[in-house]
Assembly symmetry: C2
């Protein structure tokens, strides 16, 4: 594997910020964004197929994809699974109200449970927000019981999803 370490030299940036992005944000042209949108929706397409859609040759697409991967814009390629088929049809968002920040560390242990899909600290009355997917209400109750076993929080509020109309990952603006 040849290491091509040249930095993207001078790529046409669309948005010109006065003092440059402090943290991250990559320089992407319109073709890059279109490519990312296509890959975010289906990453199994061949480079030839992508080339047709982007009016480019297959190697040209490959080069862009390689660059975007190296820059970290594409974090990886994963299989999207059907939660219901995995016998986990119950989706819930759990707000956890905490009194001390020490609780955060305890909650991170929940990462081990495959039921837990997301863990965030958030603003507002609740300090933490969990996205969990369980088999049924009993499994959810067990999970909540485990959270209640932790010291230093006021309580939890759960919002059970009735219907999911949209669920997708990050995608560029186009």
């Amino acid at each position: 594997m040849t290491q091509d370490l040249r930095k993207s030299s001078t790529r046409t940036a669309r948005t010109l910020r006065t003092s440059g992005p402090r943290t991250t944000a990559a320089a992407l042209d319109d073709t890059d964004r279109k490519l990312l949108a296509l890959l975010a929706e289906d990453a199994t397409r061949t480079y030839a197929e992508l080339g047709k859609l982007l009016f480019l040759s297959a190697p040209a697409v490959h080069e862009r994809a390689r660059r975007l991967k190296k820059e970290g814009v594409i974090k990886g390629t994963v299989a999207a699974l059907d939660a219901a088929k995995l016998d986990r049809p119950l989706l819930a968002f759990v707000h956890v109200d905490t009194t001390s920040w020490a609780v955060t560390r305890q909650l991170l242990a929940l990462e081990e449970l495959s039921d837990v899909e997301e863990i965030h600290t958030v603003t507002g009355e609740s300090a933490m927000l969990l996205k969990v997917r369980t088999r049924d209400t009993q499994s959810l109750e067990q999970l909540l019981a485990r959270i209640h076993a932790i010291e230093g929080f006021t309580g939890t509020r759960s919002y059970i999803a009735l219907t999911t109309y949209l669920e997708r990952g990050p995608s560029p603006d186009l």
Copy 2:
């Protein structure tokens, strides 16, 4: 492409429910679940590599993957993008309190916006829950303004994510 339509005949189901699963939920053995977990975390692995991890040959893995795809357990393969690199670092959960269910239909139009990643109807005081990712607080405000333009809701409550400790898709129990 040869169409192999034989149903998975008699596969060893681990959990034996008295009256069968009413809706969905596929019959998966331990190897299936391990394979799904591996693919959910990285779908770029070669079948040979997966075979080593599962103590199986490459075609055997391929056959299982094909079956899981046909059954819909694997919905697709997508590229996971870095939201920050896409210049969309602000993650927020927006609860929308509605008075009538007619609002639901209006909110579904928000699907067009790439900022909006998830739309659910939920139980609890708020009727709908949105997961949105914007460039900054101003973009979020614009989105909220658009929601407020819709008739028939009491208000919105937004929870801005400070830190995301875990964010992944559905994965089997193992």
